[in-house]
């Protein structure tokens, strides 16, 4: 059992979760992580980093090989009905019943929940131009994705988990979707976790970000903190820089003659002054957007 501190009443918690496929493929490698209540968390990671596995394990769709996943304090593998009524989930691949009409599928989904906001569902379907009388099998992939999101929102879940929800949406629908996410999150009672490759979406709505790399959470914190902490330094020295040139907290370093590009974490004025003094150099400090930070952290 992990001794790692867990935020109280975190809607979603993972404690030293390992998930192996077969004997040797570790999709999750000892993940200790929690999603604070009322936050909008973006989960970032390269392809095959383990994002979908993490989400499915957290929801109890996959069983951890070792460790423990909890939702609202309950074992995710065996959630009580009352807890499930508080969860909304949109999977990466949308699978629905093609022979039902949209309104029939909405009726069917609504029938399982003790509370269903029909007004919200009608409004979203109207705004997103989801044809209620059309058969689900005739919908495009983008419309299917919108429908899946609407179905996941109908019971107004306290925890909404979305696995790459905007991947198939056009720019207009994506903007509407993000606005809806912001509206849902506005009252601070709901927690939203979504994985994505589209970092600009994440910057627009997320207040926290977690970066998953090779099955491990390598960053978990406020989005603004991450953006403040990672900077790119443009170093131009009077003489060629030695191969031993280094900066504390270096994420990536590229030296070419008198010049160096250094991406660093937790850069301070003192570090910048030291470089100026030790190498007789000018140092420019550049802010990075989330996409640049992601690329730097992954050495891309």
């Amino acid at each position: 059992m992990s001794d790692a501190p867990i935020a109280p009443r975190a809607p979603l918690q993972l404690r030293r979760v390992h998930k192996y496929y077969g004997a040797s493929v570790a999709a999750l490698d000892g993940v200790d992580w929690s999603v604070p209540a009322g936050s909008v968390v973006g989960l970032l990671g390269q392809n095959a980093a383990g994002k979908t596995t993490l989400i499915k394990t957290a929801l109890g769709l996959l069983r951890p090989t070792r460790g423990e996943a909890q939702i609202f304090g309950e074992d995710a593998w065996d959630l009580p009905a009352a807890v499930k009524a508080r969860i909304g989930y949109v999977p990466q691949v949308i699978t629905l019943y093609p022979w039902l009409r949209v309104r029939q599928l909405i009726n069917y989904t609504a029938s399982f929940y003790p509370h269903w906001n029909d007004e919200l569902v009608r409004t979203l379907a109207l705004n997103w131009a989801i044809p209620r009388e059309e058969k689900v099998g005739n919908l495009s992939v983008g419309t299917l994705q919108k429908l899946a999101i609407v179905l996941a929102l109908g019971h107004e879940p306290e925890l909404l988990v979305l696995d790459e929800p905007a991947a198939s949406l056009d720019p207009g629908a994506r903007r509407d979707f993000l606005r809806t996410i912001l509206d849902i999150a506005a009252d601070g009672r709901r927690t939203i976790l979504f994985s994505t490759h589209i970092t600009s979406d994440l910057e627009r709505v997320a207040d926290r970000v977690a970066i998953l790399r090779a099955g491990k959470i390598t960053y978990d914190g406020e989005l603004d903190e991450l953006k403040d902490s990672v900077k790119r330094l443009h170093v131009t020295a009077e003489a060629p820089l030695p191969p031993t040139f280094s900066v504390p907290g270096t994420v990536r370093l590229k030296i070419e003659g008198n010049e160096a590009l250094v991406s660093v974490r937790d850069v301070s004025e003192k570090i910048v002054d030291d470089i100026r003094r030790n190498y007789a150099a000018t140092v420019g400090v550049q802010d990075l957007n989330l996409e640049d930070i992601f690329l730097e952290l992954h050495h891309a």
């Binding site: 069983r63 969860i87 009409r101 309104r103 029938s111 495009s140």
Partner: protein, 473 residues
């Protein structure tokens, strides 16, 4: 040698026929079957004509199945963007498929016919036997290609002579070589149908309606439910009027809330969205018409009775195996609806049991009623039928348990396996039941029925225990 194989495009394509595990299993089964036919034919020699007839049937069936598998494999390779974009892709694939077909199908059928000619118990003509094998192979291969219910029409037309005494005599005459011209016509027609199939495969492109019909059953189900734009036609097929009507989708116009409903009401709810809908009623109606027809055309009452029992006993399992795998692709999401894991799995199990029981009840009730009212089998035969009923019920419990147990693996090719399994178990039970009923061994029938039921319930409970620890993603 290894380098030559690796460099040869033709050899590499041929090796694809050995790659998927299901095909290896089928290939191994076929090889064992061929060996068994050869050994049995030689050992039995000239003594037992019934065994030789069975060997002819088995060998022919295997050849037909292998032929259809080769055609389906070729389609999977050619209904693919690479066939249009990669230079010189189609020709070697078609040539390899044709060579495999000639060697395995024609070779297997010729060998079986040759063995029969050697023991000389039945008068079997190679032309007649090949004609039968190739006609059925062509039908099955086109069925795999088009995957359309419309193919049932030519299949019914080809099989219809079996229904009539004159038809059966005509088929027997062709098989013996007594009608060589008809044999050659059938042979030529089947070869033409196969050449047409190869021609179509050589021109497959995305605008063809059969391009997107996935050959793999798992793929076929999945593309229908995920809306992949490549499979637009397939998706549309999943939303066709027929499918909507058969599934009785209109019942979802007004859906009661079941959040706090009782167990069986929730189980019925789960069944409605995925089950066979009105299909059991249609199949039962067909059986209801078919039974008296069989009675009027078969020479012996017992044969008609046997056919009716076979249909009523095996169709429920086959319909179930073809329908319920659809839930695989929504299981993850639906398992997150408000219900504990145990409650969810119990409700799913109850929904499946309900579906199975209702299908069997419909088919059996209509078959038996039709047999009573229209076929007018003698009282003795009808009494046998009623005596076999408990045994058939026990068989259904056993088949249900096995199917629920197998469904846990969620593999596309496993959908096919239960169909053969159901057929094998059903036939074995039927022969045993028929024999016991004929001898009026009521006590023995009840004992076997009870044993089958206990075994079925045991397997179902074990399946539930295993489902509890199965990942539902």
């Amino acid at each position: 040698m290894r380098n030559r194989i690796e460099r040869s495009r033709y050899a590499q394509i041929a090796l694809t026929y050995t790659k998927p595990l299901p095909i290896r299993i089928w290939a191994a089964s076929t090889a064992i079957g061929v060996l068994w036919i050869a050994v049995t034919t030689v050992l039995v020699g000239t003594t037992d004509s019934g065994v030789h007839a069975a060997m002819l049937f088995l060998g022919g069936s295997m050849a037909v199945w292998v032929g259809a598998m080769i055609a389906a494999h070729a389609k999977e390779q050619l209904a693919d963007p690479r066939a249009s974009l990669v230079p010189h892709f189609r020709t070697p694939h078609l040539v390899v498929a044709a060579v495999m077909f000639l060697v395995l199908v024609i070779g297997l059928a010729s060998a079986v016919a040759g063995l029969q000619a050697w023991v000389a118990v039945h008068d079997v003509s190679l032309t007649g036997y090949l004609a039968f094998v190739l006609v059925l192979t062509a039908l099955l291969a086109w069925m795999a290609q088009l995957q359309s219910p419309a193919m049932l029409i030519p299949i019914a037309a080809v099989l219809s002579p079996v229904m009539f005494a004159d038809g059966r005599a005509w088929l027997s005459e062709i098989l013996r070589g007594g009608a060589p011209k008809t044999g050659y016509v059938l042979l030529s027609a089947s070869i033409a149908a196969l050449v047409a199939l190869w021609w179509r495969l050589s021109r497959m492109h995305e605008e063809m309606p059969d391009y997107a019909c996935g050959v793999s059953p798992g793929l076929r189900l999945k593309v229908r439910m995920t809306g992949d734009p490549i499979f637009r036609r397939e998706n549309a097929a999943g939303a066709s009027r027929i499918e909507t009507f058969v599934r009785h989708a209109a019942r979802f116009d007004y859906v009661p809330n079941i959040a706090a409903a009782g167990f069986w009401r929730r189980a019925r709810h789960w069944r409605h969205v995925i089950g066979t809908g009105r299909m059991p009623i249609f199949v039962a109606a067909l059986l209801g018409v078919w039974v008296p027809l069989l009675h009027s055309t078969m020479t012996k009452d017992d044969v008609g009775l046997m056919v009716a029992l076979v249909a009523a006993s095996m169709v429920p399992g086959q319909m179930f195996a073809a329908t319920w795998p659809r839930r695989w692709y929504v299981l993850g999401e639906e398992s997150l609806r408000p219900a504990s894991r145990r409650q969810f799995l119990r409700e799913q199990g109850a929904a499946m049991a309900l579906e199975y029981a209702l299908t069997w009840a419909w088919l059996s009730a209509v078959t038996f009623t039709s047999a009573t009212l229209f076929a007018r089998w003698p009282y003795g035969v009808f009494a046998q039928l009623m005596m076999a009923l408990p045994l058939m019920a026990g068989v259904q419990v056993l088949i249900f348990g096995i199917l629920v147990w197998i469904l846990r693996f969620r593999a596309g090719w496993l959908i096919i396996a239960p169909i053969f399994l159901v057929t094998a178990i059903g036939l074995a039970a039927l022969i045993a039941g028929g024999t016991m009923a004929h001898a009026r061994e009521v006590g023995m029938i009840m004992l076997v029925a009870a044993l089958l039921t206990v075994a079925g319930v045991g397997i179902t409970l074990d399946a539930y225990r295993r489902w509890l620890v199965t990942e539902l993603d």
